[in-house]
Subunit: 323 residues, 2 copies
């Protein structure tokens, strides 16, 4: 049953939490914050729309998690420590059980990530969620997309493709065993932002980006602004069990290279950093894989087969306004 | 005709502008900013949904202005100087002429307000606009809602009611001459955030809030958190020509007290500040009117007639989830 409560009551009950590290949190016209000495603020915003970014009927607790996760992923890609978050939500109706579950997923990740909710807005409308995150990092140590150097290795955390494969299954384009589908759905619906990795890459990586639109598309942004060619080695890419099991090699490759919604970090680092990164992977218990290198050439991504030949791609990534 | 261009092209063409006061603006995973020495950051976010906050078919240039204006109004109410803004937009289609006009309205106000666009997100979905603004103010000088003191005057900038009256006319509930309707539509569709006033109220006002949900409702928040009763003098309230001319006294009073969408500042100040505020009104060429005072009593707003008797209200303000 849907209980109608007021906008102010929703904010009071579900979206007001202590924010001890802010000067002023939820409840006034603005929140007030201050970065610590020597730190600059990293700010990013992302909007999630039902039907575009998630399917109608998505589990609300996972959606609460994901809404925050995709934003924290941007902080991770910049090498920033997460500090504060603002959440705006347009809701078609006020189903308290839904809001309660959504808030639970959101706050659980917020708490675990050390990020405090300091503001937001709640209104009626087609389901749309907009988050702004603020993080901190020492001045000059940010991981810009433009910092990749000639000869740098390209690294990937975790593996790509499972989220897109889950979506393909949910849309009836592929089939997986229940166990593998559940793994993939978890990646789609509750991605884990690589905040700890991002922070540890400061001073090691030369550039970073998070994989939201697809590996080739996002690495393409790095190549473009770094004015280098990214050579991606297809055989070096880590493949999750579900991609190997799905029985459709073309789909699996598309998910791997252009699926999106992965929220892994793809980053570049000098060859000299290899042993540090291998040690970091063990310390964080998170696979870090060398998947290619930055070369002189027309800015863009070239995917190469084992024999060095170029693999032609039908899909390069996700664009909300393209078919 | 609708031209389909990519999400990245929209951002590049319409939403990438120089941001000289940011360390890093649009185009990376995060923007990077730093508050000046001795300043804290004020952050606020507001979401506008078609059909809830504005009518379908609203002039896109005015909508671009308003989307930013309602957010800047929150900075004004805190006494902050506007610095940076992030804009997220869900668009049902990419009508380039629409986006171009929207961006024109947005950027014109941004430029005039000294605020720089440093980030955002563009996606497909039912028309929904979400803005986060960042401002600066000297530590400790923010205008909190909770600062109203016993015996303080209550002041209002400009006048309330015209925006709500415009909406009533557009919905067929009232009629005005074309000239008056145009005045009111301008207030509804292109409100002017009181940024300069807000900044000048630092050190003078004891509390402030902007009128977005209705004068009584918003003043009620101040009364509540200041633990005082706000006595509002009905006859002291400034009335725009359109409210006097609309021929429906009950509607006019509802627009005045509970209309919302005004984006004026209602603030409190000690009696000793009267001459300073009168001088400020002249300097800024913006009417500032004393409309009541803060008294001991149950926290809330009491509207009083000329004889001191209490005026009972049928509507106290706007709530997106109440009928």
């Amino acid at each position: 049953m849907t209980t109608v409560i007021s906008e102010f009551e929703i904010i009071r009950r579900y979206f007001t939490r202590p924010a001890p590290s802010a000067i002023l949190g939820v409840g006034d016209d603005c929140a007030l914050v201050k970065a610590r000495q020597g730190m600059v603020l990293a700010v990013s915003t992302d909007m999630l729309v039902e039907g575009t970014h998630f399917l109608a009927g998505t589990d609300p607790e996972r959606l609460g998690h994901k809404t925050l996760a995709v934003n924290l992923s941007d902080l991770a890609a910049m090498g920033a420590d997460a500090r504060w978050v603002l959440l705006s939500a347009a809701l078609p109706t006020v189903d308290e059980a839904w809001v309660d579950a959504f808030a639970r997923g959101f706050h659980a990740l917020a708490e675990r990530s050390g990020v405090e909710l300091i503001g937001g807005d709640t209104t009626r409308g087609p389901l749309c969620l907009s988050v702004t995150v603020l993080g901190e990092l020492p001045a000059g140590l940010e991981l810009r997309r433009s910092g990749a150097g000639l000869g740098d290795d390209i690294w990937l955390s975790g593996a790509t493709g499972e989220a897109a494969l889950a979506l393909a299954c949910l849309q009836g384009h592929a089939r997986l065993s229940d166990a593998l589908l559940n793994d993939c759905k978890l990646r789609l619906e509750a991605p884990e932002p690589r905040l700890e990795l991002g922070g540890r890459l400061r001073g090691i990586a030369s550039s970073a980006i998070d994989v939201s639109d697809g590996l080739v598309a996002d690495l393409g942004h790095v190549a473009e602004v770094s004015s280098l060619r990214a050579d991606l080695l297809l055989d070096a890419l880590p493949r999750a069990a579900a991609l190997r099991a799905c029985g459709d090699a073309a789909l699996a490759q598309r998910c791997l290279l252009a699926g999106g919604d992965d929220y892994e970090l793809v980053f570049t680092a000098p060859v000299a950093a290899r042993s540090d990164l291998e040690a970091l992977a063990i310390e964080l218990n998170l696979p870090l894989t060398r998947i290619g290198s930055m070369q002189a050439g027309a800015p863009g991504v070239v995917v190469r087969a084992a024999d060095g030949s170029e693999v032609k791609l039908s899909h390069r990534g996700f664009d909300h306004f393209q078919p």
